[in-house]
């Protein structure tokens, strides 16, 4: 072997060995990828209280669009909640592959009108989304919400895996949990629940509707349902809660299915107080808020008032 060749081959082998040792040394016991949790502002979208307006209003009208407009005007009108150029996320309940009449999802008529209101108030963009239980495409289609919201000019988003941010909810029970991006990266959040029966929490209204901002294995939350609802309501504070009580699902909730379980009430509630909204809404189910554990706990946590009349209540029964 020539000397030159000897040196060449020896140095090649040594070089490779050095790379292996160096690489091993470098990666040993060290995190190569470091997960940096994204920074997002706390989703508190509430507006400053104003004593000129009641905290909660209810309006009853066969024409549901008018009912919504009336209830909204009573709490100050859309201009109080949405300013020009803002991004608004509307969160109806689109949990199930059910039609509007079956009263498992928020009324598409109300969602459409709400979108139009926001756009009229000058919103730059209105997003309508929810983390559904049944298959998302089917839920948005059959509920009629996709069609109605898009017609009104909203952007309908069906969540995919990439759309979640893992966030610290800072709750007593709920800590790190994936949250759908559009419910935190926005300027205004409008919660649009429907009033339904639920076997465990007794009712599904506004605060329970916030389950829909979460991804992940949220079925585990049922084990401590009351505390997890309160945690969520502490974390996510909507600008406005608009309760669809045009149809009320009395039994077989939260999915329903039979029209025999649906009561027609033609009512819409608008509230800046989440607890008051739920407290008024459960009366449609024949319940008293004082008997519903999560509403009681929410009041204790300082989220609002069960005695909605004390919160300032206006009612228009048409």
């Amino acid at each position: 072997m020539k000397r030159r060749e000897f040196i060449k081959r020896a140095s090649q082998a040594t070089g490779l060995a050095a790379v292996c040792v160096g690489g091993g040394w470098f990666f040993h016991d060290r995190e190569w990828f470091k997960y940096e949790p994204p920074i997002v502002h706390k989703p508190d979208f509430q507006i400053a209280p104003d004593n000129a307006y009641p905290q909660i209003s209810l309006s009853r009208n066969q024409d549901h669009v008018l009912a919504l407009r009336d209830a909204l005007d009573a709490v100050g009108g859309i201009a109080r909640f949405v300013r020009a150029g803002e991004r608004v996320t509307v969160k109806p309940n689109v949990g199930w592959d059910r039609t509007a009449a079956q009263a498992a999802n928020t009324s598409p008529v109300l969602v459409g009108e709400m979108v139009r209101q926001c756009l009229d108030a000058g919103a730059a963009e209105v997003i309508v989304t929810d983390v559904t239980c049944n298959e998302a495409r089917r839920c948005f289609l059959r509920s009629g919400i996709k069609e109605a919201a898009e017609k009104a000019g909203a952007k309908v988003i069906l969540a995919v895996e990439d759309d979640y941010l893992v966030m610290d909810l800072k709750g007593r029970l709920l800590t790190s949990w994936p949250v759908l991006r559009h419910f935190v990266e926005t300027d205004r959040l409008i919660n649009m629940p429907i009033v339904k029966h639920h076997s465990l929490s007794m009712c599904t209204v506004g605060m329970k509707n916030l389950y829909g901002i979460l991804g992940g294995r949220r079925n585990q939350l049922h084990q401590e349902i009351d505390q997890s609802i309160v945690d969520l309501a502490m974390f996510s504070r909507p600008t406005l809660t608009v309760v669809d009580a045009t149809r009320v699902l009395m039994r077989g909730g939260p999915q329903g299915g039979s029209l025999d379980d649906v009561n027609i009430e033609h009512s819409v509630i608008c509230a800046t107080d989440q607890v008051a909204a739920d407290a008024r809404a459960v009366e449609f189910l024949g319940l008293a808020a004082a008997d519903v554990a999560h509403i009681v706990q929410a009041e204790k946590a300082g989220l609002g008032l069960i005695d909605y009349r004390a919160a300032g209540y206006k009612e228009n029964l048409g």
Binding site: D97, R137, R138, S199, R217, N219, H222, G252, S258, D260
Partner: protein, 563 residues
């Protein structure tokens, strides 16, 4: 028209049919725009399984196995009749798997060295090409006795299955992986560009969400094997194994279109053999084999002397040129008999085993609307269209759940996805009637009509939270879609280990109402092995696989009355 033009026509035809086939598989998807006010049922806008109905092997074997030519299968005559006159034009011009094999065989790479002599030799007719006829005969005999196995190897179902359950989901996972990797650099312009490219292709190539299929590796082994062998022998699959190719070969026995060779002008350069797809001996001096020829016309275009000419009614002498006079379909009598006998023996052998009915897998849940098991096995061609279309990723190719006989037939795995009550898509796409199309009413039922049942749910009280762990839950009840709910609750006061009293609601199943949809199993928080699970017992399609002597029909019961 020169042969060059015709050859370009062929290329165009191959690209178009390949494109159409893939497009149809892509469209086998829940992707519809309906207005819920006007239509209550979701229908697919295109007849997405139409390509499979043009398959003569599907038509023949299902006809033999179950005695009917289901729905659109008469279309297969549109392929079979021209074949009788023109030969295996389907293989060279239409078949998507053939086209794929053609491309993979011809991509130049290191194989550039594999030209000249070696390639000429490998492109001569070989004895192994008989295998496909024996496979075909085996399938035919098996079908005649009632077990439909042709779908395993029939190229159209094979392609649909491989694209739908293997290629597209893999592409999806790969695309998501690459996107995530690029984004992990945190370099904005790069992430933006990657996202842009992704958003450009994702809407029509990728599913709405990543799907996960059972048994996917077994599908990959067959499909991958077929693709890879092309690199060793040109179109090995088409030449040697394809049962549809064999069937078309047999039907081109009397073709009126063929290759006429001119002995005098040929100078034996063998360029024709270089480019031959079918290994049918186009060169002068050997006997041309109509049954092997894919009518690709490469040989005629390659011949510098103009000695080869495809024409109608070629003279017998002109097609043969020095032929030893023997039969055109090169199979021996003994092996023919042996294949048929083996196929015939397959059925009693499979049925004397225990996996059919007698010890059937309790988790063998068939899609809603499926026909009874032995008819099902005589109909399902394992095209995987039902698995592809299912919006919930509920349907999967089996491995051995229905025995070796039913490999890759659909099974519903509720843990991955349950059956959506308002959905009837799998029945809409099944090309052979293994899954019959249900109306919405037949699927969910009402006060008079019984709902379709695919199984029954049971609780595992050792795992269920309220039963075993003094913990509140009711998720199964929440998800149960029947009305009233088949899952009902009883409130009980239980004490945990520390003696603390907990009020829980314990779930029970009402077998009269349960349809076996599996929503409860899907949603149960005990994720690895759900505390509520569905087995096939009670399925509507079977009179025998039942539990209760007097189980009432699963119908909606007016509220107030106790079921």
């Amino acid at each position: 028209m020169t042969v060059g033009t015709v050859r370009n026509l062929r290329r165009f035809s191959q690209v178009s049919f390949f494109g159409v086939f893939c497009w149809l598989v892509l469209k086998t998807n829940f992707e519809v725009a309906i207005s819920p006010d006007t239509v209550s049922e979701v229908f697919l806008p295109y007849p997405v399984s139409i390509a499979l109905q043009f398959d003569p092997l599907v038509a023949l074997t299902t006809l033999l196995a179950n005695g009917t030519l289901f729905k659109g299968l008469l279309w297969s005559l549109a392929v079979l009749i021209p074949t009788i006159f023109l030969g295996r034009f389907f293989c060279g011009w239409v078949c998507p798997l053939g086209t794929l094999n053609h491309w993979i065989s011809e991509i130049r790479s290191e194989r550039i060295s594999f030209r000249g002599k070696g390639k000429i030799e490998s492109n001569r007719y070989k004895k192994y090409q008989r295998i496909k006829y024996y496979i075909f005969l085996f399938m035919i005999a098996a079908a005649l006795f009632g077990t439909l196995q042709s779908g395993l190897l029939d190229p159209l179902p094979l392609m649909a299955r491989s694209i739908g359950t293997l290629v597209l989901p893999t592409a999806h996972a790969a695309a998501d992986g690459v996107l995530g990797w690029v984004k992990s650099f945190g370099f904005k312009p790069l992430s933006g560009a990657a996202q842009f490219v992704y958003d450009m292709f994702a809407p029509f190539l990728l599913n709405f969400r990543q799907v996960h299929f059972h048994g996917i590796v077994s599908i990959a082994i067959l499909f991958g094997g077929i693709v890879v062998t092309n690199r060793v022998f040109t179109r090995f699959w088409c030449r040697g194994l394809c049962p549809l190719g064999a069937m078309l070969g047999i039907f081109s026995r009397y073709a009126t279109f063929g290759l006429q060779k001119d002995e005098k002008s040929c100078d034996h350069c063998n360029l024709c053999l270089q480019s031959c797809q079918g290994a049918d001996n186009p060169d002068v001096g050997t006997r041309w084999r109509q049954t092997e020829c894919h009518v690709c016309l490469n040989c005629q275009a390659a011949c510098p002397q103009g000695s080869l000419d495809f024409k109608f009614f070629p003279t017998l002498e002109g097609t043969r040129t020095n032929p030893p006079p023997n039969q055109r379909v090169d199979i021996t009598k003994r092996k023919t008999v042996a294949s048929l006998a083996a196929g015939a023996a397959l059925f009693p052998m499979l049925r004397s085993g225990d996996s059919f009915e007698i010890n059937a897998d309790s988790r063998l849940i068939r899609p809603p609307g499926s026909v009874i098991e032995d008819d099902f096995l005589a109909r399902c061609i394992r095209c995987g269209q039902c698995m592809r279309v299912c919006p919930n990723n509920a349907l999967h190719p089996t491995l051995l759940e229905s025995g070796l006989e039913g490999v890759w037939t659909p099974i519903l795995i509720p843990k991955v996805g349950y059956c959506e009550p308002s959905c009837t898509l799998c029945g809409q796409v099944c090309p052979t009637g293994a899954i019959l199309e249900l109306t919405l009413l037949e699927k969910v039922g009402d006060k008079e009509t019984p709902a379709n049942r695919i199984g029954t749910a049971f609780f595992d009280r050792g795992r269920c939270l309220p039963w075993a762990m003094a913990t509140r839950c009711i998720v199964c009840e929440e998800w149960c879609p029947t009305s009233p709910k088949a899952v009902y609750l009883k409130e009980e006061l239980v004490t945990d280990r520390q003696g603390k009293e907990v009020r829980v609601q314990r779930p029970y199943i009402d077998p009269d109402l349960c349809t076996g949809c599996g929503a409860c199993e899907f949603a149960c928080p005990v994720v690895d092995q759900p505390a509520v699970y569905v087995t096939s017992v009670g399925e509507s399609r079977s009179p025998d696989n039942q539990i209760l002597l007097r189980r009432k029909k699963p119908t909606t019961i007016p509220p107030g009355e106790t079921p």
